[in-house]
Amino acid sequence: MKKFLVGILVFMMLFSLVGCNDKNDSESTMDVNENGKITIWAWDPNFNIAIMEEAKARFEKEYPNVEIEIVDYAKADLEQKLHTNLASGTTNGLPDIVLIEDYNAQMYLQSYPGSFADLTGQIDHKDFVDYKTELMTLDGKVYGVPFDSGVAGFYYRTDILEAAGYSASDLADITWDDFIKIAQDVKDKTGTAMLAFDPNDGGLMRIMMQSAGAWYFDEEGNPNLANNPALEDAVRVYKEIAGSNFIKPTSGWGEWVGAFNSGDTASVITGVWITGSVKAEASQSGLWAVAPVPRLNVANSKNASNLGGSSWYVLNSSKEKGTAIEFLKTTYAKDVDFYQNILVDRGAVGSYIPSQSGSAYVAEDPFFNGQKVYADFSKWMSEIPAINYGTYTYEADAAIFGQMGEVYSGGNIKDALKKAEDQLKSQIQ
C-alpha cells in the first residue's frame, strides 16, 4: 500500500512537470479575427465596466461577429486573480485585455516579463498625455493603452465656503497651509467640517508629492523617503490636518464618499473620477465648484497633480491578440465621440489628447453652477509633472503609514521617515 501511495505521488509530480511545459501561446496571432471572442477584466460596474460596455457597443457596430465578454471583479480580487494566473505559468485562465492601475503598471511589467503585449507602433502613443505613456514604458517599449486620467481637483461647496466669506478667487492657486487656514475658518464660522479624512490613507500624500514632481523613489528607482523635502512637507501637512478639528475622520471608501454626499463636509480633494460620485447626490446640484489642488511649500510644486487612474493592457498569451488590439485601437485610441459620451455619462476624463477639444469638454456643467469643469481639468492635466512611479508604490505607502501613528502622536518627522526608508529597503531587497 505504501508503494501505491508513493506511486501516486510520483505520478502527480510528473503530471505537474508535463503541465509546466504545456505552453499554448503558439496559436496567438496578430491578425484580426472577425469571428473571435475576447475577454476583458475590469473593476467597478459604475465606471470602468460601464465605459467598457460603451466601447463594446461601438466596436460591435463595425465587427458584429466579434464576441466581447466583460467580466467585473472587485479591484483587489482582480489583482489577486491576475497574479495567481501569471505566477502559475499557465495561460488558459487569462483574459485578453485587463485593466491595471497606473501605480502597479511597472510592478506587473517587471514581475511577469513577456506576459504583456508590446504595443509600440501598434498604438500612436503621442496622442496620449506624456505621464500616462511614461508609466507603461519598460526598456523603450510601450505596453498599454492609456485610459482615464486621475487629474486631481479641489471640489468644494460654494454655499458653505461663501457663508464663511470665501469666493472662487480665494481658493485658486493656494498652498496647503492656506488651505488649512481656510478650513479652520470654515469650521469655526459654519460648524461644517472641511474634509473627510482617513489618516491611514495615502491618497492625499501622493497628490501632494506628485504636485512637486517628487515620489517615494528617485529617478533610478531607489527609495527616497529620508531626504525628500516634498514628502517631508506632505507628512507635516498630514500631521496638521489629522490633528485639527476641521476634519471628519473616516475609514474606507464608502464612509468617505458618504461624508460629502450627505453634506457633512464642505470639500473633497481627489482625482477627477470622483465626479460621478459627487454628482450622484442630485440635491446638491449647483452648489459645487472645482478649484486647482493646493500646492506644497517646496520649490517647483504646482497647483496640479494626479491620483490613481488606470490603463488597458493586452495579454501576450491572448489567442485573439490582433482583435484585442484592434478593439482598443478603434475605441480608446481613436474615437473622439466615444470620449465625449463617457465624459457626459460617467464623468470619465480620458488621457487621449484629441478628445479634449470635443464639445463635451468645453461645455458648462449646471451641477457645478455653470463652471466649465472639464476644460479646467484638461488644462491642469497638461501641467501634471511626469514622474516615474517605480515598482514599489504600495510597499512605500505601507512603510510610511506604518510610522504615521508615531508622527500623529508627536514623533519627529525626519526620524519617522528614516525608519520608513530602512523598512522599505529591507522589504524590496
Partner: protein, 298 residues
C-alpha cells in the same frame, strides 16, 4: 486454528476493504493538499519578483529576523490569539451552561439567536460590521444617545480601538459556534452529578468551575485547538474591516502573506516561508495545549 488467529485473519480480510473506504479521501488529500504543500515548500527556498525567481536557500528564514513588518504582524497575531480565544471560549462556556438548564425559558430561542452569526459569510459580515463601526455609524450614534460616551469612538482609525473592533467581530462570529459544541457535550453529563453537588451546598459558580469545566475538558481542548488554527490564520476580518491598519496595528501574519503575494511586488517564495512559520507555531501551540489539557484524546 485457535480463536485468536481466526479473529486475526478475519481482521485481515476486513483490512483489505478498508482502503475502499479511505482510498478516495486519501488520494484526494494527496492531490489537493499534499502536492501543493510540497510545491510551496520548494517555493519557500526561492526569492524574487513575480516569476523572476532565484534559489535563496535559507535566505528567507534569515530575512525574517530583520523584517520589522513580519515581527509586527507576529506580535499582533499573538495579541489577538491571547486575548480573543480565552474570552470567546469562556463566554461560550457560560452561555452553554445557562442554556443547558432545563428550567430555562425560551431555550431554543436563545440558542438559535446566539448561533445565528455563524451562518453569515465572511464577505457579508465584514460589510455589515464596517458600516456599523464607521465613525458616525450606528454603534457610535447609539452609544452617544445613551450617554455612555461623550465623543464618538474612532473604532477603525485608532490603533487600540481597531484591535478591539477586530476582537469584537471575531467573537461575534464564532462564540455561538463554540457554544454548540459545549452544549452538545453538556447533554452528556449526568444531571445527577449536579443534583448531588447542589445537595452538598455547592453554589452555581462552584458547580461551573468544579464540574462543568473539568467534564468538558476534552471539548474545550478541541475547540481551543480549532480556534488557535483559526486565529493564527486570521485574514478576512482584518482585510475587510481595517486593511491591517492603522499603522499596521492590526496586520496579521496571513494578511502579510497576502500582501507579499498580491498587493506588493509579489515575492511568492518569501510568502510561502511565512506560511510555514504559521504551521510551525500552530503545531507547537497544539502540542502545548495537549500537554496542558491532559492526554485524553479529544
Amino acid at each position: 486454528m485457535n480463536k485468536n488467529q481466526k479473529a486475526k485473519s478475519l481482521e485481515k480480510a476486513y483490512e483489505k476493504h478498508s482502503w475502499g473506504f479511505i482510498g478516495i479521501a486519501v488520494i484526494m488529500v494527496l492531490i489537493f493538499n499534499v502536492y501543493p504543500i510540497i510545491n510551496s515548500l520548494v517555493l519557500s527556498t526561492m526569492s524574487g519578483k513575480g516569476v523572476v525567481m532565484h534559489f535563496n536557500g535559507l535566505g528567507n528564514i534569515r530575512r525574517l529576523f530583520d523584517d520589522t513588518v513580519f515581527q509586527t504582524a507576529l506580535k499582533n497575531t499573538f495579541t489577538f490569539f491571547i486575548i480573543q480565544v480565552p474570552i470567546m471560549i469562556f463566554l461560550a462556556l457560560i452561555i452553554a451552561a445557562f442554556l443547558n438548564e432545563s428550567t430555562l425559558k425560551f431555550r431554543s430561542w436563545f440558542r438559535t439567536a446566539i448561533f445565528l452569526p455563524c451562518v453569515t459569510s465572511l464577505v457579508a459580515y465584514s460589510v455589515l460590521f464596517k458600516s456599523m463601526f464607521s465613525f458616525d455609524g450606528i454603534i457610535n450614534t447609539t452609544l452617544l444617545n445613551l450617554h455612555i460616551i461623550q465623543q464618538p469612538i474612532p473604532w477603525l482609525l485608532d490603533p487600540f480601538w481597531a484591535k478591539v473592533t477586530i476582537i469584537l467581530a471575531i467573537t461575534w462570529r464564532w462564540t455561538g459556534y463554540n457554544m454548540i459544541f459545549y452544549l452538545a457535550a453538556l447533554q452528556n453529563i449526568d444531571s445527577s452529578i449536579y443534583e448531588a453537588a447542589r445537595i452538598d451546598g455547592a453554589s452555581k459558580s462552584k458547580q461551573f468551575m468544579k464540574i462543568t469545566i473539568p467534564m468538558l475538558k476534552p471539548v474545550i481542548l478541541f475547540t481551543t485547538i480549532m480556534s488557535t488554527i483559526g486565529t493564527l490564520q486570521l485574514f478576512d476580518e482584518v482585510v475587510n474591516l481595517t486593511g491591517g491598519g492603522p499603522s499596521d496595528s492590526t496586520l496579521t501574519l496571513s494578511q502579510y502573506i497576502y500582501n507579499l503575494s498580491f498587493k506588493f511586488t509579489p515575492n511568492f517564495g518569501y510568502a510561502a516561508t511565512i506560511s510555514y512559520v504559521i504551521v510551525f507555531i500552530v503545531a507547537i501551540l497544539a502540542w502545548l495545549q495537549f500537554k496542558v489539557g491532559g492526554e485524553r484524546n479529544a
